[in-house]
Symmetry: C2
Amino acid sequence: MSDAYYLQLTEQLRTLIDQNAALWEGKLPAERSLAERFATTRVTLRQALSQLEGEGLIHRSNRRGWFISPARLVYDPTRDAGFNDYVRAQGRQPRTAVLKLESRAHPPAARALGLPDDQPFQHIRRRRYVDDRAVLVESLWVVPERAPELLDIYSGQSLWGLLRERWGHYLANRSIRMVSEALSPMDAEELFVAPGTAGLNINRAILDDQQRPIEFDEEHWLHDSLCISVELSGQR
Amino acid sequence: MSDAYYLQLTEQLRTLIDQNAALWEGKLPAERSLAERFATTRVTLRQALSQLEGEGLIHRSNRRGWFISPARLVYDPTRDAGFNDYVRAQGRQPRTAVLKLESRAHPPAARALGLPDDQPFQHIRRRRYVDDRAVLVESLWVVPERAPELLDIYSGQSLWGLLRERWGHYLANRSIRMVSEALSPMDAEELFVAPGTAGLNINRAILDDQQRPIEFDEEHWLHDSLCISVELSGQR
DNA sequence: CCGGCTGATTGGTATAGACCAGAAGTCTGC
DNA sequence: GCAGACTTCTGGTCTATACCAATCAGCCGG
């Protein structure tokens, strides 16, 4: 083949990874040793590794090295199953870390919910893990009137569960938006990856059955960690 | 700031692009001249450009240079509005090129529709443009019994329109899957971009109201050209 | 046995330069 | 005036090397 060398390298690495995944326990050898093995430079090697990263086969943890990516989590953003539930349903181990609890305004959330820019929200920021890999950070912006004292009682459980059980909210209308992105320096740092790593941004605006705004939700996922799946029946 | 230089460069380029977008008519100056202007190497400059590419601000056309990306197309994969309709509804100009018409088996489509691997399909491959930029290629795999003579009469119009009007098919059940990807060499070539360019893969399996398989649909989008949007009402 | 220090390793960043093939622009000859 | 040949420019790829800062493993002392 007359392809570029880094593309050949990509294929060789792909098979090499397949064969040695178990042996290496998920972590690839050092870039320098791989570059030496294929008689090339780190620059070219990294170009090949980046290809595989784009495919979602491997990923890197900032300054720690390259790792083989686990299977993607299947996720249906139109359903309101909690994160913990569907992660466990796929035989994986979920975990959540709460990063921030505060009260403040957030114009993008306000606009998405049709509220004035200075509308205060209860802000919950959390990081979610699957099998001890951080796969997303998210910010939840809850309208205070809908869930008083939320910030005092919240400690990492399912927010939608709380809204339903404690305040009886019926999450009837959702408008969902998904865009590919490059993770901002802040999001990247919270996910332990390099700034600019490919991500997927999922936003949801949620209203109740009387069109009253309840909550706005901003998720930043690592691009290789999920597979979005939606099942629909009936003409739309 | 003590950030890496390429990150500072990214910001400088961002404002430079904002200011000169009109002047440059959408095309950035040559890499060499940009590198000189910022007193750095092409390698470092390209690192910064790649950041902006990841954000979807700019993109490149293979060997032709860097271009400012137009606004993303808003797309709802759960609705069956035709491509031409929703592109025009957003004030843009759609175009379609048919790349291939053939009849053959395709195991992935067969599996998604619950048919045997050797099931033959009518295969339509087409490239779609928005305002003269190729933004996706797709393969449609139609079950022959549902649409006899499709390959003889098809010439670029809306497939779902045809299925509905000519064969009276009611596209009742869809199972949709979205995954980020790196474009394969073939897909990349058909979209005039470099292999490995970030893309979004959207697959749809479509059954009628009696659960009979009709069609399987594989779309490969440039990652920066769309914004997926879904509106739902009612509990799910 | 545990915790903090330390040095080797490794990924992240950057420089400088080179060659090739495709694209674009120019020139030429009919 | 136009088609085709030629030249230049430009992005794509690659080499070789270097330094920094974060990580990690191992050592040392309490």
